[in-house]
Symmetry: C2
Subunit: 452 residues, 2 copies
């Protein structure tokens, strides 16, 4: 085990050379930023945050996060405007830059092969002063630097493990473990292996409170715990720098569950695979379809020009909308899958692509006013128990049904992908070559198979 972890570390720990490069570039960016800040009307302090600042980054994975901390007494509007102005000016002095948007606008610049995010925020001393979502980052960095205690490589191992088993990242379309959460778990359990060994215990114990907020701020911290218990999360990690926040609030049951089984598997049978999974064995999706006796319906459409954070949740929403609408129309949808390559796609595995042209139409009780109208309105009517029944003709091909659902606006779609989906090609039991692996992984369930 020790040897295995050493081998992994050799691959993921930045080399002396990389380290030096990172430090040099950070230094240069800092100088440039400071020069410009000096000419600026506000008392701004630049802070490096994120994994580079905490020295928990993986080899080759070294994006720079430079936060521009404004005095807490200026209004939010002013921070937004002046902050963006400052970030832009710094960006102009690097290689190239663009404005990006999260809760507030920031600047994404590039410099000597490094991505440099320039993010305006407030210079807060503690959680009571926090005003925007990014204000905590500086506090996080400080707290981790103070408590990590030389366990940086343990963080790297756990981070790589999370990446290998596909549960890393707090993005809305991942809902996994964030970098900060990874660091806190190492600080809590002291090593990579200890975190894995505690996979069941941490879930049963439920609450991790490194800063002792439940004693220091019982009211605020209990409110946080209660709220998170009510929303039913797998894990509550009270933020050491802010008792109002659960660091693991974005962690889904699904991702935690994957970690749960993979930790067990790794401890029983450690291997390199967990950190660096091999490409899955691919198969022929058409053969899988034949074996399962199911059908594949693929909606293929132009990829909307959106970042993953926006696009993927909207594709998910649309896919689930189709699942629901098709179930109501008498098709069984086993699973859905969505994403994009050149084009965006939604795949649906269904029980069939054709169905009977008739549906039973249950009517009211026969002796009512509505019963009489039902009787008069329908060509064939019969009684079962007290109720009238008739039949209606329905669309019988899933392609027609999908077209009708779209035309009649009867499927819940993501707002910004709707127009694209309206124009989708609908493919039955066939996908373009670029999607054939996706189709195979989806239909064979190897995409999600815990034992895969």
């Amino acid at each position: 085990m020790k040897e295995l972890l050493n081998q992994i570390l050799q691959k993921i720990k930045p080399s002396e050379e990389e380290r030096n490069l990172v430090e040099r570039v950070k230094g240069e960016v800092e100088s440039i930023a400071k020069e410009i800040i000096a000419t600026f009307d506000y008392d701004v302090e630049p802070y490096f945050v994120g994994s580079l600042a905490k020295d928990t980054y993986l080899a080759g994975d070294h994006d720079i996060d430079l936060f521009l901390a404004f005095p807490p007494d200026i209004p939010l509007e002013e921070l937004r405007e002046k902050g963006l102005e400052l970030a832009k000016t710094i960006g102009e002095n690097l290689e190239r830059h663009e404005v990006a948007y999260a809760e507030h606008p920031y600047v994404r610049a590039f410099y000597k092969g490094f991505k440099v995010d320039l993010v305006p925020c407030y210079n807060v001393r503690d959680w009571r002063e926090v005003r925007t979502a990014v204000d905590r980052s500086i506090l996080h960095t400080k707290w981790v630097l103070k408590h990590l205690n030389g366990k940086n490589d343990e963080v790297r191992l756990l981070k790589r493990f999370f990446k290998g088993i596909n549960v890393y990242g707090s993005e809305i379309y991942v809902k996994g473990f964030s970098g900060y959460l990874t660091e806190l778990l190492i600080i809590k359990y002291s090593s990579f292996l200890k975190v894995l060994e505690n996979h069941d215990f941490m879930f049963r114990q439920k609450i991790i409170d490194l800063e002792g907020w439940l004693k220091k701020e019982p009211e605020v911290a209990m409110k946080t715990v209660k709220r998170e218990v009510d929303t039913d999360v797998p894990l509550i990690v009270i933020d050491p720098v802010d008792p109002r926040r659960n660091v693991a609030s974005a962690l889904s049951w699904e991702r935690f569950g994957i970690f749960y089984f993979k930790a067990k598997q790794f401890l029983e049978n450690p291997s390199r695979e967990f950190f660096f999974p091999e490409q899955k064995q691919m198969g022929d999706y058409k053969r899988t379809l034949r074996e399962k006796g199911t059908k594949l319906v693929t909606l293929l459409f132009e990829k909307p020009d959106l970042i993953d954070d926006l696009l993927l949740p909207q594709l998910e929403k649309s896919a689930k909308g189709f699942m629901k609408a098709l179930e109501l129309r008498g098709f069984r949808v086993f699973e859905a899958h969505w994403g994009y390559k050149n084009k965006a796609f939604i795949m649906l595995e269904v029980d069939r692509t054709e169905k009977p042209r008739v549906e039973i139409k249950p009517g009211p009780e026969f002796f009512t006013e509505r019963g009489l109208r039902f009787y008069l309105k329908n060509r064939k009517v019969w009684i079962r128990g007290k109720r009238l029944y008739s039949e209606k003709v329905v669309e019988d091909s899933i392609v027609d049904v999908i077209r009708e659902l779209l035309e009649k606006n009867q499927v819940s779609l993501g707002k910004q992908v709707k127009e694209h989906i309206m124009q989708a090609d609908i493919l039955i039991n066939f996908v373009p070559p670029e999607l054939s692996d996706e189709a195979y992984l989806f239909l064979s369930r190897e995409k999600w198979n815990l034992k895969g």
Copy 2:
């Protein structure tokens, strides 16, 4: 209207000739019975009951019911034994006879082309003395004779109307209007047309109490009403000879509903058709199948040697058992139909005859003991929310599924038809020529169409 009803009456009213024949044969049977009773140890009185006794029979429909009324003070066992002995002796003096069984054994004999049922019962004066189900018949006959007041032909019209629209008969497999109920409705509303005109009113009013039991025996009668309301029947007709009994208790919502609409239709548009429906227009069931896009599954098996009263309810139970079991296995069953010609059959209209070879297998929550077992037991496992999922292979052809259901005893079947059904042929989208009309009426729903 008047003319139409006269035309119908001419067809259904027994001729002078038939009447004379009936009276002559009744007289002969009575003489034979009395002669034998005279040599018998018990003080038995013979009574004619039923539509012949009440002169409400339809032309050509003249079965003789002769009840042999024993003194009420002999024990039930003795009545059974001696009653059957007496009935047999009378039967031996007619042409041929056989023993039949209802609640008690009786004798069915034949004489000069007439069917003669010889039924032992108690000679009761009123409802308080009633001990067996047949004891009331003599009271019924007396009561109707006393109150019918010359409306015999009105009864005949209503009876023929009920037969024409297929709601006549209180047998368990019909659940329609009995002869006695028909007579009571005429006594209540005074004419055939008045009964039809009151189709909605009688339903709203709910209770018909010709003998005023609710005043004379409020406690007993209210108990009857309450019981019948609780079992949710469409109509409560308190038996004029027994306040404990609802004459319409066997009437189903379905049959009442058919009468409800047909009465309305007849009043709007009277025609001979209602009394003597023409053979329905037949069509090609295979074409109906193609048009509807549904499939027909027919189980064809030896007709068990049972009377309709037993056979049909058991076929119904079995058909419903198949509906339920197949729905659980992922087939949609639109309707079922059962009956017999040379062979007995159960027809099922289903959405398809093949289905995917896989089913989703939902498992327990991942963090439980059972979750771990589920994880270990299945080859592919994934997580959705908190739960584990897997897939299982299932039978994919409805024929295989039915065979499996039968083998594993997973379908609820009528006791006395079970063995026969186990041996059934299973036909897909095809029936033998003798059943093709049945298949058409079933699939087209013309079998039950209120507008057909």
